[in-house]
């Protein structure tokens, strides 16, 4: 059994009882990256020297005894839109090619407090805009299950790194599906917490009313472990919720008897690959066999979610990305004629086509004369979509469906057609608009490619989501399937 097969709790046990040194564990991660990342392309920046130094410090600390952090000595990869002091943070953009953050995101402070070690920064679609990782300004990420296919996005590097066993867990961010969809495509576990559960301080903003950081892991127990370390109120993020954080690990009882599950017919209808639908129906049978009940429900405004999302997210992005002006950080065009020329040329040289497209869409939707027709209208439809979930959760504990309509598609297949690309997110976007938590877990394969099952819960009820996901994976073992990548 390789170290990468061990759960975080088992690694914690081995490390703290000195059966394994932190240096060995970090070395295993760095060696695996050196061996495999030429093929995968998951990492944009490595933190090798600092990671090794931190490892030897933790090994020295073991000699002195005392309480050890929850993630003591565990090597992690971090999506490159989470700022890391002294470690280059590019957001997958040329605009920030040489950006060296002067502070740590709150999640990084929390990971440090839990004594995790950052091995590097992970590739992503530029500014988290995309669902295939093809919008990275550096290089695409390849799916470890099939190197000619996309890993999904925008947290494509974060999902591929876990699937390729390069890091023991990673952090991603999810605005419309950017943790869950790549987790599904790469056959790993991706959790988008309730909006506000995890601080966004230090997450480079894309769409502030939707963005949320979450863990990508090999299994559900690890997901609960990492969530425990990063959740909680932060006075530096005024949209972070001041709620009590439960003990997520103790929620993993394996018992789902009597759970009421709603299955939206809109998530199982047109556009859903027949094999994906089949895997979801099989998963529902597993839940039935464990004593849960499911029935078909309707979330009637599902069909409006993608349009709503692209108007709202692009509008927020056009405003958030106004800060990239070449004044305080990032690229500045050479020899500008004047200030305006500097703004225009710096932004035009620094941003890629998808980022420009969304800034244009958002600027248009917010511009004088169109605000009510597009932005306000979309906010009103968002209310209707949120009500669909509120009503369903009056009767059901969980909502279950596919994470994505199809398995991973081929690199280059959808590049010229932004609208088709956007429709890959049809099952994840409504959840983001409602702000509720959801996890994607492996539920088998279709033609050898992983399929993700999406389990959606009530606001701040991550415990029930994790409990159901954990019971399912314990029963089926689909999370043990792995790519042949040697």
């Amino acid at each position: 059994m390789s170290l990468f097969d061990l759960r975080l709790s088992e690694l914690h046990n081995r490390l703290t009882t000195k059966q394994l040194s932190v240096a060995e564990l970090v070395d295993a991660s760095l060696s695996r990256i050196a061996e495999t990342d030429v093929k995968i392309g998951a990492f944009l920046t490595l933190n090798e020297e600092n990671a090794r130094k931190a490892a030897s410090e933790l090994d020295a600390e073991l000699a002195s005894g005392g309480e050890k952090g929850l993630l003591f000595g565990i090597p992690a990869g971090i999506k490159d839109n989470i700022v890391t002091e002294g470690l280059r943070t590019t957001c997958g953009s040329k605009f920030l090619e040489n950006y060296d953050p002067i502070y740590d995101a709150t999640v990084m402070k929390k990971l440090r407090a839990a004594q995790s070690i950052t091995v590097g920064k992970l590739n992503m679609d530029e500014f988290a805009m995309g669902g295939s990782n093809e919008n990275s300004a550096y290089h695409p990420v390849r799916n470890p299950w099939a190197l000619d296919r996309v890993p999904g996005g925008s947290s494509g590097g974060s999902a591929a790194a876990v699937a390729a066993r390069q890091a023991y867990f990673t952090l991603g961010s999810d605005t419309g599906g950017s943790i869950r969809q790549p987790a599904a495509y790469c056959g790993v576990v991706g959790l988008k917490p309730t909006y506000g559960l995890v601080s966004r301080f230090g997450l480079v903003a894309f769409a502030s009313s939707l963005d949320q950081i979450g863990p990508i892991t090999k299994n559900v127990e690890d997901s609960a472990y990492v969530l425990q370390a990063i959740a909680g109120h932060d006075e530096r993020d005024s949209t972070s919720a001041n709620v009590d954080i439960p003990d997520y690990l103790s929620a993993l009882t394996g018992d789902v008897k009597g759970l009421k599950i709603g299955v939206p017919r809109e998530y199982m209808g047109k556009g859903i690959d027949p094999q994906v639908k089949e895997r979801v129906l099989e998963a529902l049978k597993v839940f039935e066999s464990m004593g849960a009940h499911w029935e078909e429900i309707s979330l009637p405004h599902t069909d409006y979610a993608v349009a709503t999302y692209y108007l709202l997210a692009s509008s927020e992005a056009s405003s958030n990305l106004a800060r990239f002006d070449g004044v305080r950080y990032g690229v500045r065009a050479s020899n500008p004629d004047n200030l305006l020329d500097m703004y225009r040329r710096s932004r035009s040289e620094g941003f890629g086509p998808e980022v420009k497209r969304r800034i244009m869409l958002g600027t248009y939707a917010l511009s004088s004369g169109y605000y009510d027709a597009y932005y306000k209208k979309a906010q009103q439809v968002r209310t209707l979509i949120k009500r669909d979930f509120d009503q369903a959760f009056e009767k059901y504990d969980l909502i279950i469906g596919p994470t994505a309509p199809t398995p991973a598609f081929k690199i280059g297949e959808q590049v010229g057609d932004p609208l088709t690309m956007y429709l890959n997110d049809i099952c994840t976007i409504p959840v983001s608009l409602a702000g509720v938590p959801a996890i994607s877990i492996p539920c088998g394969t279709a033609d050898g490619l992983p399929v993700g099952l999406q389990i959606i819960g009530k606001h701040f009820d991550e415990a029930t989501v994790l409990r159901a996901a954990h019971a399912f994976e314990s029963q089926t073992g689909f999370h043990n399937l792995r790519p042949a990548l040697s």
Binding site: D100, L339, P353, M360, K376
Partner: protein, 95 residues
């Protein structure tokens, strides 16, 4: 409603982007397709519906107006493309 090249130029100016002629053509086509798709929202009657800007019931988060340590000027300037006398330097705004 259809977006013309002139509209694209107007929006690009608002967004402080400089686009090539080929970009303008492409964006006009793609934005038209996306906005046409978005027209389906008009199937829904929403006059009485409150807009949702944010899903959590949090408003006006206040804190004490207390002085705390903040970034030093030196640190704030670490990523500056150009600086002079401890300040960010930009091209002249007025001639």
């Amino acid at each position: 409603m259809s977006i013309s090249i002139k509209d694209v130029e107007h929006v690009a100016n608002l967004a402080r982007l400089e686009l090539s002629d080929a970009d303008k053509e492409q964006f006009a086509g793609q934005l038209n397709a996306i906005l046409k798709y978005a027209e389906k929202l008009n199937e829904l009657h929403t006059d009485e519906i409150e807009p949702t800007s944010h899903v959590l019931p949090i408003v006006n988060v206040m804190r004490d107006d207390a002085v705390k340590p903040s970034l030093t000027a030196e640190k704030a300037l670490l990523n500056a493309p150009e600086e002079e006398d401890g300040q960010f330097k930009v091209p002249a705004v007025l001639e």
